[in-house]
Symmetry: C2
Subunit: 335 residues, 2 copies
Amino acid sequence: MKLLITGGAGFLGARLARALLAKGSVCAQPLHKIVLADQVRPSADLVSDPRIEARTGALVAQAAGLGGEGFDGVFHLASAVSAECEADFELGLRSNLDSTRALLDGFRLAGNAPRLVFSSSIAVYGPDPAVPLPPIVTDTTLPLPQTSYGTHKLVCEHLIADYTRKGYVDGRTARLMTVTVRPGQPNGAASSFFSGIIREPLAGIEAICPVAAEVSHPVSSPARTVEGLIAIYEASRDAFNSRSAMNLPGLNVTVRDMLAALEQVAGKAACARVRFERDERIARIVAGWPAGASAPRARALGLKADTSFADIVRQYIADCEQQANAGETLKGLGR
Amino acid sequence: MKLLITGGAGFLGARLARALLAKGSVCAQPLHKIVLADQVRPSADLVSDPRIEARTGALVAQAAGLGGEGFDGVFHLASAVSAECEADFELGLRSNLDSTRALLDGFRLAGNAPRLVFSSSIAVYGPDPAVPLPPIVTDTTLPLPQTSYGTHKLVCEHLIADYTRKGYVDGRTARLMTVTVRPGQPNGAASSFFSGIIREPLAGIEAICPVAAEVSHPVSSPARTVEGLIAIYEASRDAFNSRSAMNLPGLNVTVRDMLAALEQVAGKAACARVRFERDERIARIVAGWPAGASAPRARALGLKADTSFADIVRQYIADCEQQANAGETLKGLGR
């Protein structure tokens, strides 16, 4: 069993690779090799595993070659983030659209039809003057993206569905909820504060929350997100049973819920490090996002959301401690 | 006022060009030139008008150049049809996806942001095991295309919405209903019989209807379709008021209604030339199509469907008589 993870050196990609290596098999087949394709090199712990092979470079340039390598399965996670695509339109086209198309055509021309999980995003949903967003989006809510990032994710969903219908890949699309708590530095994405208001206080640093405490949003821990991606991969074609994308389960929480969980787990002092300072630009963007999501089709496959935000905070702390034992600190926890 | 019509030598493109030439102005601006870009040359009546300029060749190769010509407006109709795209996947990618992308990037790089009407299709709708199709699709029905043709139309809808949001074009997408009665020969499309069962009997030829008389479908006459495209072009951005595509109005008719109208207009003898002979392949495809459509947003712009199928039959006969006066016959009426 030989797998490809695009974006394999990124936060989710590396975590997925570690989970797959620990599991040792996929669909009851022993795992022999995982190729991690990314613009940067994967971290040392991954590269040191003999089953890992790193391919460093732009995906759009690598895609045709990768197509012909006979992968049994693919997790296609590589993506420029939302804020990057808004700032640089051509970067978004190249990184999120052309690279996916090149990868799909690579597989089509090679003819071995690998199983492929594509990570789409809740960013496919957006409000429109003619079509208001429901309070809780579900698998069948009409996607009307309001960013280039969301547009390209939705376009790739439909291309993958059509390449699947024609038998060129066995594609499945999972729409990821906002993943939190992300380690590392704020990344400039409008959603960055959903991690920052937990991560910084735990590291003893003040954090600014740019939106009101009433703001609600569907989130998912990194561990549950990775579990979801693997379960969607392992689902039989019949169980998947649709050309349409499905939401991964999310926990619908308000900022107030998140801070209450932080206080519950880490105490009043941690929570007091969060200061509300409204940022109109970010508040306006966030107001266009779904306040909540449901995922009936993923739940029918047995997938579950995190049970509480306190559990998500505890998971982050446990991850930090594990990394700290490996020589890193709460502050410096990056990729 | 300088316009571009892609697919400008085709059935709808040529008809649109004639309507615009007759109107003489668009958005109250006098019309100086229409460039007809197509793989084939436009018919003689069009080429002889001094305001018409023909550009013959593959659109994907012409697109970048056309982008820089400073068009005030564009009707982007060029498209390989559904059956062609199913038979030749790469043709579909090239003709319906790459050419649109190249055109949009041509306009983006030139920077003059023309107004652009894109002809999408009711083929964006399709049933799915997880999402059954409602009996009447509307502007906000979730599109889940079941063909490459429908997939590429939907992908282009979303790309155009995003290029519009960024100010690179002023794009508007109209989803066309099945246009009937088309002149000429059957074209191998699964929908071909929706014209054939009227056109052939009127020309004294037997026609085969491959589906049951109860089959229902939304249709539109060529004249109403062209009116719709022009009205969508002339609508102000505010009146259009949405990033999402809109259906053009259609008349929801059964095959039985169509044949009753044929009998009403042309007599029992014409109607008797239609023979029912079920074709499982076509019947299965047609069973996945919407049985009807509504178009609340287009109606809010003042657009109307044809009032009866008998009117559509009369319109076809009048068109044939006009062409016959110009030296053609009911049988040979083509492009």
